[in-house]
Symmetry: C2
Subunit: 455 residues, 2 copies
């Protein structure tokens, strides 16, 4: 367990050693102001400062305690109401039976949520185990028996369409072998919105709920969202009985409600807030309160999809996403089409989907050469509509395919999937709705209806 103090340095490490305490232990801390605090000692990032010890309180909150304000630390191992949280008394966590009788396949790919010390060191992350998890988020055992699997150990900005293929296949294989009640995928938040869209397509027809979850602030920081996100994702995965791909992240800045987003309609709209993820022009599927109550808000669209589209896990890398801007050089499209032999491009146009005349001409040229060009808007919200103005109609004549209100990130993931699995059918399938990627405001239990969107 020596590695359990990894991340602590200097005065903080000295203090822990002085009292024979280590990360993962349940302790009582006497503060210099007379207050006592009980909680789990949580490991820290190696890059964190060396003057604080982080305690996970029973409330779920983490607090950083300045070592200069700590009078003494008492280990509560073996005693007290929280004995089960103490690692030293729970050597066989992974065999533990959950209180709920449910089982969860918990897949880790990397990212903030899976990192307790700097994951670039390689030391901690690959060692992710049931014991690690129970020590970070002890309440998990009330939700389900956890079957943890490490598929990748990468930051999400390094995740590629090829990785989406690997991840999809792994999820299918592992779930088939273990037959859990649900699946949770932990990943970095940076490209989580792209990946949730990708998996929504590659897991069409998959019988398990798949909930993708991340954290904006790592579990060794005060105000971390990791624990509640993970517990809520796990609860939704094993209790919802709702096949589909979802994203579970904080709904607002307070710490009791988690939003369950439709995998194809969710976007990271803030760099750092805990509620950075938003459903775009779309209701939430549900919210989860206190990691133990689901409130339904809208149905996932579960159309009857022909078997030819189910569990198709390939993603093609020869696709691109290009944002138009004033003075945009159409030569970029030439480069992608001619030099890189790209098969399809999603263009983020302005407003209703417009691009400059020069780009319209270039699109006509590469489209004639066989490159699919899908048009979305950098506005993010709203529908593209190329019939309002003359230049928009020119863009359609040039072969640009307006993609309604599918926003760029989802359109890109879908394009990679369509090109990867159904050669020669790109335009047809990009315009076909599979899993809520178009639209919008679907009221609860009005499956398959599309509200007012042109098609």
């Amino acid at each position: 367990m020596e590695s359990a103090v990894e991340g602590y340095r200097g005065p903080a490490l000295d203090l822990l050693r002085r009292y024979g305490t280590k990360a993962g232990q349940y302790v009582e801390v006497l503060m210099s102001d007379g207050q006592t605090l009980r909680g789990l000692v949580i490991p820290r990032y190696q890059s964190a400062d060396d003057r604080h010890i982080v305690l996970k309180l029973k409330s779920g909150y983490n607090v950083g305690l300045d070592v200069r304000t700590i009078t003494s630390i008492k280990s509560l191992s073996g005693g007290t109401e929280n004995a089960s949280n103490d690692l030293s008394s729970s050597k066989n966590e992974s065999e533990k039976t959950s209180l709920s009788g449910k089982s969860l396949l918990l897949i880790s790919t990397g990212g903030t949520i899976a990192s307790r010390v700097d994951y670039r060191s390689g030391a901690v992350f690959p060692a992710l185990s049931a014991a690690d998890l129970y020590s970070s988020v002890p309440e998990l055992d009330k939700i389900a028996r956890i079957e943890p699997e490490v598929v990748f150990s990468i930051t999400s900005e390094n995740m590629t369409p090829r990785d989406w293929s690997t991840l999809s296949s792994k999820i299918i294989d592992l779930a088939s072998a273990k037959n859990p009640d649900g699946v949770v995928v932990m990943m970095g938040t940076d490209t989580l919105g792209y990946a949730s869209a990708a998996l929504s397509f590659s897991l069409l027809g998959f019988k398990f709920p798949v909930v993708i979850v991340g954290a904006q602030r790592s579990s060794d920081r005060p105000s971390s969202d990791a624990a509640l996100n993970l517990r809520s994702a796990a609860f939704f995965a094993v209790e919802s009985k709702k096949p589909g791909v979802f994203v579970a992240m904080h709904r607002n800045e307070s710490d009791n409600e988690i939003a369950i987003h439709r995998g194809t309609r969710v976007r990271k709209n803030h760099t750092s807030r805990r509620d950075a993820f938003q459903s775009i022009d779309s209701h939430l599927i549900a919210t989860v309160r206190d990691a133990n109550q689901i409130q339904w808000r809208a149905d996932q669209i579960t159309p009857n999809i022909p078997v030819e589209y189910l569990l198709k896990t390939k993603f093609d890398s020869s696709v691109a996403l290009v944002k138009f801007h004033p003075g945009f050089d159409p030569g970029v499209l030439d480069y992608l089409a001619d030099q890189k032999q790209i098969k399809g491009i999603i263009v983020e146009g302005t407003g209703l989907g417009h691009v400059s005349d020069g780009v319209v001409s270039k699109i006509a040229q590469i489209n004639k050469a066989g490159v699919f060009v899908g048009i979305t808007s950098q506005c993010i919200w709203g529908h593209v509509d190329l019939f309002v103005y003359g230049p928009g109609r020119d863009l359609i004549s040039a072969g640009g395919v307006p993609l309604e209100n599918m926003f760029a990130e989802t359109a890109f993931a879908k394009l990679s999937w369509v090109v990867g699995n159904f050669p020669g059918r790109t335009k047809e399938l990009m315009l076909r709705e599979f899993i809520g990627e178009f639209n919008a405001r679907i009221p609860l239990s009005s499956k398959m209806s599309r509200s007012g969107s042109a098609q």
Copy 2:
């Protein structure tokens, strides 16, 4: 005035001709249900249907009347309380003295707000005159004497950094000659956010308020926002006495309140809503109610800027904006740096500003070759922060310059301006705040303070 019926075709044109009526006339329409409506006949887009006549009511709203429901039309020329709205009695509109005694330089560049019939025909837009304006928005004469100038007749998606230079110079020349109380620039909304940022830099030190205004729905459509946007922009321009560049657009979907945004902090976030424009991580400067009351909300930042930065109107086109995505091909950066000899690139990273390891390496390479690389986030809201994770620190080592919470569109416009006017000083000046392009939440009358953002 024959061109004033342009846009009307088929049954609608027949009906207008039958009653000797034309666009621009004030009429009373008897409907088949016995109702009578009074208003101005508004020209239509050539691409609009041929079954409706559009009437501008005194309330400012436009209504489309089905010709099959119209019993008769009576011209009110020369009579009634609204005689001044009748074009036939106002040949000399441009010499009219405004009620307020103020004067407004009204510059048109094209776009929805300046178009009454399809502007690609070239027939209507270049003829924009004071008479045209008073006929579209008769209430303008209460606000100011209008000095109209047509600078361009282009859609905003075709506006380039070079056009920003031309427009900036024209504004300076025209305002110096006419010495108005304020300036309004009408343009298409698609790249209005980019242009408002651009002009915020090129017009530093300009003594007049410059308000950029557009419309999401053209003035011949019911629910057009053109009239209220224009009247409110004009009112703010001539009454605010506030040098700076602002954007005036609907604040919400109702039709009485206009938001005045800081030119460097405003983004088009919806493809079609009238309130598509939002201030990002920033207070509104003001709101304008009923086009006649200004409510102040935050100060424009008006730092003491050395004279070397004032009225520098060049924009360099050898800059680019690139959005990162999963599987992004670093070769795009090579193409821009090597083949196009670009001098600077704004990268839209994910989350806190991250990009893949391959892109980090490529950035190191082109940065060594002298290309500036500024890092923003595709999240739109929030600060980039490359110090939280290891890969972010690698990106900084590679020469990527994190641009705080300046979002990509503003960063791109600023880069074009910095490169155009101050060769060799790109990094220094990209990090220097000129006009509210960084930050955020500046309270009313706390000029120059920057709230909590790192710099």
